[in-house]
Structure formats: structure tokens, C-alpha cells
């Protein structure tokens, strides 16, 4: 058994590193996760410590830049690189947790909708249409304003505005396999609904679920940054890339680095996740083989 498992991991690793897209995505994401975990060890600076004597220092390769602050400092003399490293924590946590929320809500509603049909289906699908009609960013803005900004609210909002994708995906899968012979067979031998769902429906959507989730983490990270940029998400002194950009925007005309590097951090992270997602889609979905 253990041997088989090992072979499985080896097989996946071979697949992963056989594809440039998958390898780049995986390594990028791994580096971001490690950087966020070991931010305290990687940087000699205290996250919150201000040093007004060293404020707005340019990156090391510019004139007046020092090696002490590789990516320069912000308006309060805090090291930009250090803050970028710590900022990854919030982004990753909010991204992953909000997708878990969206996946949970969407799975339950999609299963109900597809499995039971009838008015339950109509109701859930109309609610999905309504959520689809309100731009995610707009709904997130309003809810965050109403509930007040906090990490928990942010996760919930980004999750709740994203359940529709999951619900529709699961529903359509349920509808396709509901009429299959093996489902009828399990029902004939007296399998309970939950048993059928657990054994036959969910395994069928697992691959698609993983792909959608990966891409969703990427879009959730962008929404988190956007909300924090607007002042509705993460609040200072907690550091997030969006917060750094909101602050750096005031120094745009004179100090370009303050609002450049947090954006680069977002782009690199999201790209890594998207590469990984694209690779997963190609590997997990046999229908994509020819199109790639």
C-alpha cells in the first residue's frame, strides 16, 4: 500500500516537472508559501518598526539606495521587501479560506439543486442568477461596508460571492450522472441519497472541483487586494499587498517603488497559482488533451 502511494507521488512529480507550466507554477507557489512562513527569519527588520530617518529610500540598485533595504522603504521608513513577505500571509490565508467557503456553499446548493430538482432547483438557480448579475466587487464593497472590515468578514464575503461557479458545476454534473445506469442500480439495491452522493457524485466532480478551486484562489487574492486598496478590506497596521498599494499610491509621483513591488508580488503569486491551475486542468481533464 505504502509502495503504491509512493509510486503515486513520484508519478505526479514526473508529470509536474515534465510540463514547464506546471513546474513554474508549482515552484513559484512553493516559494511564496515558504517566504510567507519564514518572513520573520528571512528579514532582519521588525514588521511594524518605523524609522522616519530612513523614509522613502529607493531600491538598492538606484542612486541613494542601500543594500540594507533591497526594495527601498515606504513613507514611514519600513522595509518594503519585509512588508511584501509578510503580506503574502494574509493573501494566501484569505485566498484559500474564501475558496473553502465558496466550495462548501456551492457544493451543498449544487447537490440540492441537481439531486432534488423541481422548485428547489428553480429557487437555487434563480438565486445563483441574481448573484451572477451583481458584480462580485460591488457586492463585496457593500457587504464589507455594512459588516465592517475584518479578516473574517473579508473571507466570508469573497467566498459567498463565488459560490455560484461551484453550484452550477456540481448541479450540471449531478444532472448528467443522475440518469446513469449505475446510479439507478445503487438506488435499486437501497442505497441512501447521501451514500449515492458521497460515492458516485462527488468523485465525479473532484477533478473539475480542484481546477476551479485553484483558479478561484487566484481571483480571490485579487479581490482581497482590491478591497484592501479601497480601504474596505484589511486594515493597517495589519499588512497586506492591497494596503501597501493604497499607501504607496500617495507617493506615486515621486517614489515609484512603494506601489510597484506589492503589485509585482500579487502578479507573481497569482500567476503561479494560475499556471498550476492550467496544468491541473490539462492533466485532470482528458477532454482537454487535444486542444492544448
Amino acid at each position: 500500500m505504502e509502495n503504491k502511494e509512493k509510486k503515486g507521488i513520484l508519478h505526479w512529480m514526473r508529470l509536474l516537472f515534465g510540463s514547464p507550466v506546471g513546474a513554474v507554477g508549482f515552484i513559484t507557489l512553493l516559494l511564496v508559501i515558504l517566504a510567507s512562513l519564514f518572513a520573520g527569519q528571512l528579514s532582519p527588520y521588525d514588521l511594524a518598526k518605523q524609522n522616519l530617518l530612513d523614509k522613502l529610500m529607493p531600491p538598492a540598485w538606484c542612486e541613494d539606495g542601500t543594500m540594507a533595504h533591497l526594495l527601498g522603504t515606504d513613507s514611514l521608513g519600513r522595509d518594503v521587501l519585509t512588508r511584501c513577505l509578510y503580506g503574502a500571509r494574509i493573501s494566501l490565508v484569505v485566498g484559500v479560506c474564501s475558496v473553502a467557503v465558496a466550495g462548501a456553499i456551492g457544493t451543498v446548493l449544487g447537490l440540492l439543486s441537481g439531486y432534488y430538482g423541481g422548485w428547489v432547483d428553480s429557487l437555487i438557480m434563480r438565486i445563483a442568477d441574481a448573484f451572477h448579475a451583481i458584480p462580485r466587487i460591488l457586492l463585496a464593497m457593500v457587504v464589507l461596508f455594512v459588516m465592517g472590515p475584518s479578516v473574517f468578514t473579508l473571507i466570508m464575503v469573497i467566498g459567498v460571492t463565488n459560490w455560484v461557479t461551484y453550484a452550477r458545476m456540481i448541479r450540471s454534473e449531478v444532472l448528467t450522472i443522475k440518469e446513469k445506469e449505475y446510479i439507478k442500480a445503487s438506488r435499486t439495491i437501497g442505497a441512501a441519497d447521501w451514500e449515492i452522493i458521497l460515492r458516485h457524485v462527488l468523485p465525479n466532480v473532484a477533478a473539475q472541483f480542484i481546477v476551479v478551486s485553484t483558479i478561484s484562489v487566484a481571483s480571490s487574492i485579487i479581490i482581497e487586494a482590491t478591497m484592501s486598496f479601497l480601504g474596505l478590506g484589511i486594515q493597517p497596521p495589519t499588512v497586506s499587498w492591497g494596503v501597501m498599494l493604497a499607501d504607496g499610491r500617495n507617493y506615486l509621483a515621486t517614489n515609484w517603488w512603494v506601489c510597484t513591488f506589492p503589485g509585482v508580488a500579487i502578479t507573481v503569486t497569482v500567476m503561479g497559482i494560475m499556471f498550476l491551475g492550467n496544468w491541473l486542468r490539462d492533466v485532470l481533464d482528458p477532454r482537454n488533451q487535444g486542444i492544448r
Partner: protein, 304 residues
């Protein structure tokens, strides 16, 4: 066809109800509106009077009924900030947002289709790899940051374009570019894969094997069919495009709904926020309806 359109329009009604429900309860959740409207030193008697005047002492469902009736008549209440009916405030700012979003939709449709088709045609060449990668980069960047970077490059360093506010066509260039980059980055890969999928179809092989010129095969047989999913793809971009323009407006101080929303959220001007959400949702619903109808019109396989 007429029946299909009628059915689609009827389907909108429950959606509108759900949206109004969301909008109504979101605002009720935000706490007592009396607190934001009256100064802190107001007496309890003043508060009670205000509550009666606003109808806040009635049961919640009755309040929702009154709200629905008001909304159906275009009344969202008087804006605290502008002292005007919220609908009027929103309608005043709406054209600026529509201008920005529609120009960006046109630009990104053209860019998305042209680059997507070329990428599919030139699959695995340097051009394809370049633009396929650029579209991943474009999707990975938050729209507001693209805006900031454009300002940094063209506004601050090169001084070619004005950085904020309305004005001449020059003021439109950067906001439109921001939105178009984000949107066409989503569209290019979709058009590309839709085109590639069609190139695998049997009728393309037939067209080729009967000796048609490659150009004819591409433009007459493949492209026309690839356009069908593109209509849906573009309609799917509309909510994102409008959401994106809300953010882009705040970056470029463009006087549209996005700027209005942020100002009213900060100023706790709830009725304007409600009106914004309802109007923006309406636009999205209409755009999706239009896409479904166009889809039914251009795809001969769909007959209702």
C-alpha cells in the same frame, strides 16, 4: 423565437426580486439608519419621531413591501450628501461609467478576437507563446494596479497623458486601456481555445480535403463558428467589466458610479449605494439577456 425571448424576460422577474431582497436586507443589517442621520446628542424622542417618519417602526416585511414599491417607482430616498433623489444622482453619473465600460468592451472584443484567432492560427509559434503568456500576466494583475502602473509610465514619467479626471479623449485612454487589458486577457485564451476546438471538427477536415484554400477554411468555415461562443464569452465579461470600471474610476478619478459608490460608502449615504447596486445589476441582466437573444439569432442550431 418570440416565445423564447418572452420566457427569458419572465425569468428576470424572480432574479430582480432576489436582488431587491439582498439590497434591502444588507442595508437593514448596517444598523439603525437613524443613528447616521441624527447628531449624537439627539434625544430619544427625536429618534422615535425620526423612526416613525422613516417608517422604521413598521414590521420588517411591511418595510420591504414599501421599499419594493418605492424602487418600482424609481425612489430610493434622498441622498444625504447631494440632497437629491438617489435615482437622479445615479442617473447623472451613469453615462460616464457606461461610456468607459462600453468603449472598453468594444476595444477588448476586437483585441480579444483578433489576437485570439491569430494565436490559434499560429499555434505554438513565438507569437502564440508571447500573447498566451501575456494574457496570463494580464489576468494575474489587479486592475487597479495596472491603472497605477500606466499612470506611473505615461502620466508621471513620459507625461504623455493626463492622470485623472474627465476631459478630452486623452483622459479616456488610460482608463480604457486598463479595463481592456484586464478583459482581453480573459478573452484571448477563450477565443483561442474555441477556435482550436473548431479546427478539430470534421467539417473543417472536409473543407480542407476538398482543396479549399487555408484562408477560406479559416475565415469562412472556422471563424464564423468560433464567433458563436465568443458572444457568450463577451456577455460573461460584462459583470467583471462593470466591477472593474468601478475600481478603475477610483484610480483615475473618473466621475462615474464607481467613484460615487466609494464616496457614498465612506459618507454612509446608503440610499445612493442601494440605487447603484440596483442599477448596475439591471445593466448586467440586460447585457446577459441581449447575449442570449443574439446567441439564439446567430446559432442556427438553436430553435425555440
Amino acid at each position: 423565437m418570440g416565445r423564447y425571448i418572452g420566457k427569458r424576460i419572465l425569468q428576470i422577474i424572480p432574479v430582480l426580486f432576489i436582488i431587491s431582497f439582498i439590497v434591502f436586507f444588507l442595508v437593514r443589517l448596517s444598523g439603525d439608519p437613524v443613528n447616521t442621520m441624527l447628531p449624537p446628542e439627539a434625544t430619544p424622542a427625536d429618534r422615535a419621531e425620526m423612526r416613525t417618519a422613516l417608517g422604521l417602526d413598521k414590521p420588517l416585511l411591511e418595510q420591504y413591501g414599501i421599499f419594493l414599491n418605492d424602487v418600482a417607482h424609481g425612489r430610493f430616498g434622498t441622498s444625504l450628501r447631494y440632497g437629491q433623489e438617489a435615482t437622479e444622482v445615479v442617473l447623472e453619473k451613469l453615462p460616464a461609467t457606461l461610456q468607459l465600460a462600453s468603449i472598453s468592451l468594444v476595444v477588448s472584443t476586437i483585441l480579444g478576437i483578433v489576437l485570439g484567432v491569430i494565436c490559434a492560427r499560429a499555434k505554438d509559434t513565438a507569437f502564440d507563446i508571447l500573447f498566451s503568456s501575456l494574457s496570463v500576466v494580464g489576468q494575474a494583475m489587479p486592475s487597479f494596479w495596472i491603472g497605477i502602473m500606466l499612470i506611473l509610465l505615461f502620466g508621471v514619467n513620459l507625461k504623455w497623458l493626463p492622470v485623472s479626471g474627465p476631459g478630452t479623449w486623452k483622459n479616456l485612454v488610460m482608463p480604457v486601456a486598463t479595463l481592456s487589458i484586464v478583459t482581453s486577457a480573459q478573452v484571448i485564451p477563450l477565443v483561442r481555445s474555441s477556435m482550436l476546438e473548431i479546427m478539430h471538427e470534421d467539417y473543417i477536415r472536409t473543407a480542407r480535403s476538398k482543396g479549399l484554400k487555408e484562408r477560406l477554411v479559416i475565415y469562412k468555415h472556422a471563424f464564423k463558428n468560433a464567433l458563436i461562443p465568443v458572444v457568450t464569452i463577451m456577455a460573461l465579461q460584462v459583470p467583471g467589466l462593470i466591477g472593474g470600471s468601478l475600481i478603475t474610476e477610483t484610480v483615475f478619478s473618473w466621475p462615474g458610479l464607481g467613484q460615487l459608490m466609494v464616496q457614498c460608502i465612506n459618507g454612509k449615504d446608503m440610499c445612493v449605494v442601494q440605487a447603484c447596486v440596483v442599477f448596475i445589476s439591471l445593466i448586467t441582466i440586460v447585457a446577459n439577456l441581449a447575449a442570449d437573444i443574439i446567441y439564439a439569432l446567430i446559432d442556427p442550431r438553436i430553435r425555440y
